[in-house]
């Protein structure tokens, strides 16, 4: 059956930031399939020029209201790499634990508040509080745990206060970490229940082969720093990030876009998992298989499942990290910082994918050049081509306007885009 349909979504809801979807199908032929990013740019890279290095993580953390911890950590890493500072093992562990808790917080927010309503036939999480109270309570419990942990380690869940170049301004009390450990253990049944819930969801049957880019772990599932890898076989060092991102500007996007071996690539939980599956915690790997996610998976809707798998991984890995910390006395929280002329890159896997911060400093430690490459900006071209492919697939099968609109919305939401972040 040949169909005609018009989909016009202005300022898509339940995503961070402002984007539009337009699909126009006439007699089974796709005339237009567009993903537009209309967010206002804030010009963070220009703002930083002339600023003392200490400003960089403080200001750049404010690029994003969801992954401010990830931005802060990427920024700190870039500054430390420029100044030749290696974080102490204690600092590295605490940062990873903080990163894990942000990943958990952000993934749970996305899975339950932004994505799940589509699968449960609701417009938002609000009616679910009535129709599925146990589901909403479970989501709130998991999110509260993650946010409390971020408060304890980073000082604040949003725009963290304790994270600085050289380490932390102060350390959590060990008793607080012990309590977080108990709550992490207690959250495992909630995560298993989440897996059971997502098992009941019908994941749209759609696949488009693409390239997946992420950090490459050596001995552990990667989050902070290290080599860069793609499923098409590209391997680069952290400081070669520009060769991995190849940013360009195009009409219809106030965000920059990226490409590598093909005309687009994807970053995010699915990319991380596709590139590092064997490094997941064994339980997380089991749950991934239980939910039908085995690499390399090219269904973008499976990004939701990949996020859930990562929730399991970060919870269990956090328990390990806390056990290590509890087993030895606290060292100094912070090492002294000596500014010097140079440049540095910090690559961090934030919830939505790989994030790069780059700064160049003069001899007084003032920023002369800044560059931030955001996961969602790397995903935009891939989202656009997915929407084109989705439109032509369903133009042939004869779906209703509303069905195609919902599938397109769910597709964009599956990437968990952080649009204001991507434009910054």
């Amino acid at each position: 059956m040949k169909i005609s349909c018009e989909v016009n979504v202005h300022h898509l809801t339940r995503v961070e930031g402002h984007g539009n979807i337009t699909i126009s199908i006439k007699n089974g032929v796709v005339k237009k399939a567009q993903w537009e990013v209309v967010e206002t740019p804030r010009f963070f890279e220009a703002m930083l020029v002339g600023k003392h290095w200490e400003n960089a993580p403080y200001i750049c953390g404010r690029i994003c209201g969801i992954c401010s911890i990830g931005h802060t950590l990427a920024s700190i890493r870039a500054v430390e790499n420029a100044f030749g500072i290696t974080p102490s093992p204690q600092t590295a562990s605490l940062r990873l634990l903080l990163k894990h808790m942000e990943t958990l917080q952000s993934h749970i927010l996305h899975l339950y508040f932004l994505a799940a309503p589509d699968f449960l036939g609701a417009g938002s999480v609000l009616p679910l509080a009535k129709s599925h109270p146990e589901v909403v309570q479970r989501a709130l419990r998991l999110k509260l745990l993650a946010n409390d942990a971020c408060d304890i380690i980073g000082g604040r869940r949003l725009h963290p206060t304790r994270t600085v170049v050289g380490g932390f301004t102060m350390l959590p009390e060990k008793g607080q970490l012990e309590k977080i450990r108990q709550r992490l253990m207690a959250s495992v049944p909630d995560l298993l229940a989440s897996a059971e819930l997502f098992k009941t969801f019908t994941i749209p049957d759609f696949s488009r082969e693409t390239e997946f880019v992420s950090l490459k772990g050596d001995t552990s599932y990667p989050f902070i720093g290290g080599g860069l890898v793609s499923t098409d076989g590209v391997v680069k060092k952290e400081n070669q990030y520009r060769a991995m991102t190849n940013e360009y500007c195009t009409k219809g996007f106030t965000s920059k876009l990226s490409k590598l071996s093909r005309r687009s690539f994807a970053v995010g939980a699915l990319a991380r998992l596709n590139n590092n599956f064997t490094l997941l915690h064994p339980t997380a790997r089991e749950i991934s298989k239980f939910l039908g996610l085995v690499p390399v998976n090219h269904n973008p809707y499976m990004c939701n499942v990949a996020q859930l798998v990562e929730c399991v991984h970060v919870v269990l890995d956090s328990v390990r990290l806390i056990d290590t910390m509890l087993g030895s006395p606290w060292q100094e929280p912070r090492q002294p910082v000596q500014a010097k002329k140079g440049e540095g890159v910090g690559a961090v896997e934030v919830p939505r994918g790989i994030l790069y911060h780059y700064y160049k400093f003069d001899k007084e430690g003032k920023v002369t050049k800044a560059d931030c490459v955001i996961p969602t900006s790397q995903n935009h071209a891939n989202i656009l081509h997915d929407i084109e492919a989705l439109a032509s697939q369903y133009a042939r099968t004869g779906k209703q306007d509303r069905e195609i609109e919902l599938l397109a919305e769910m597709l964009v939401r599956a990437y968990d885009p952080c649009i204001s972040c991507s434009v910054h």
Binding site: H11, T13, R14, V15, E16, G17, T40, P41, R42, F43, E45, A46, M47, V49, G50, K51, H52, E54, N55, Y58, I59, R62, I63, C64, G65, I66, S68, L109, F113, L114, P117, G123, S124, V125, L126, A129, K130, V136, L140, R141, K143, L144, N147, G155, R156, R157, L158, H159, T161, R162, V164, T169, M170, C249, T254, K256, S420, C421
Partner: protein
């Protein structure tokens, strides 16, 4: 979720509330979703009719509009004007909305073309000087902070619902920090704007041994000259103070004016 509410036996209306964002990180809105422990109670207090980040349904009339972010493009002026028209009470949510926030750091550069070129090269992008909401519309209430403090927002919203006058602390963060029994950061070698910044955050940063950057703007009768003297005594560069004073735009009226003139502290810019 829709049982009738009452306060001291007086029935209360659940106001229709909308959340909107201009140029921002959307973190202040997320702070509300970050209220896990009290979120469901909070939702009982109001009827959310517009919250693009969290729900698909939208409505065009609301009693209270919370607007996050600053104005950085012409189309945002039109959106803001429309929101103002539809709302009985317009609340500037967070430092970007109140003062321009970190976004206004862009205004340090007189040459906007350089700013555009630095980020986008020759690709054409529309932008303008960054403004707080009050430069274009009447703002009925400001909630300061980067980010806003969720407990404070809940208190303010509760005050609005029960019809109480909303008051901000007039004293500085320094008072809250002392009350929290923290060691003074100056003595730990850390610069801090706590002595001049409006309280209400419960010394959020300084209690975590992070110096205050002044995100909530000036306290009433903030004495910048005295702060400069203290900072000099402790050996901090003047540049460090200026970096912080200009970070969120709350002290714009101080940094623009000559430091010699003892101007009365205007809490925010004039309404237009």
């Amino acid at each position: 979720m829709s049982e009738p509410l009452s306060y001291l036996g007086v029935p209360l209306a659940r106001p229709k509330v909308g959340f909107f964002e201009l140029s921002s990180c959307e973190g202040c809105q997320l702070q509300l979703l970050n209220n896990e422990a009290t979120l469901l109670d909070f939702l009982n207090l109001v009827e959310i009719v517009n919250f693009r980040e969290g729900m698909s349904e939208r409505a065009d009339t609301y009693d209270i509009a919370f607007v996050e972010g600053s104005v950085t493009r012409k189309d945002e002026i039109a959106r803001l004007t429309e929101i103002r028209k539809n709302a009985k009470i317009l609340v500037a949510l967070g430092s970007c909305a109140c003062f321009g926030g970190v976004n206004q750091l862009k205004n340090r550069f007189r040459d906007l073309d350089w700013v555009k070129k630095e980020v986008y090269g020759d690709f054409p992008v529309e932008t303008m000087e960054v403004h707080p909401l009050a430069d274009f519309v009447q703002v009925d209430l400001s909630i300061f902070g980067c980010p806003i403090k969720k407990e404070e927002v809940e208190r303010i919203v509760t005050d609005l619902v029960v019809g109480k006058t909303v008051r901000h602390p007039e004293y500085p963060v320094c008072m809250e920090c002392k009350a929290n029994e923290n060691i003074c950061l100056f003595d730990l070698g850390e610069p801090c704007l706590g002595p001049v910044t409006r309280a209400g955050c419960d010394a959020w940063c300084t209690s975590n041994r992070r110096g205050c950057w002044g995100c909530r703007g000036p306290a009433e009768a903030a004495n910048l000259k005295q702060l400069e003297e203290i900072m000099r005594t402790y050996g901090f560069d003047r540049e460090i103070i200026l970096d912080r004073l200009e970070c969120f735009g709350g002290f714009a009226s101080f940094t623009e004016a000559s430091p010699q003139k003892d101007k009365k502290a205007p809490a925010r810019r004039k309404k237009s």
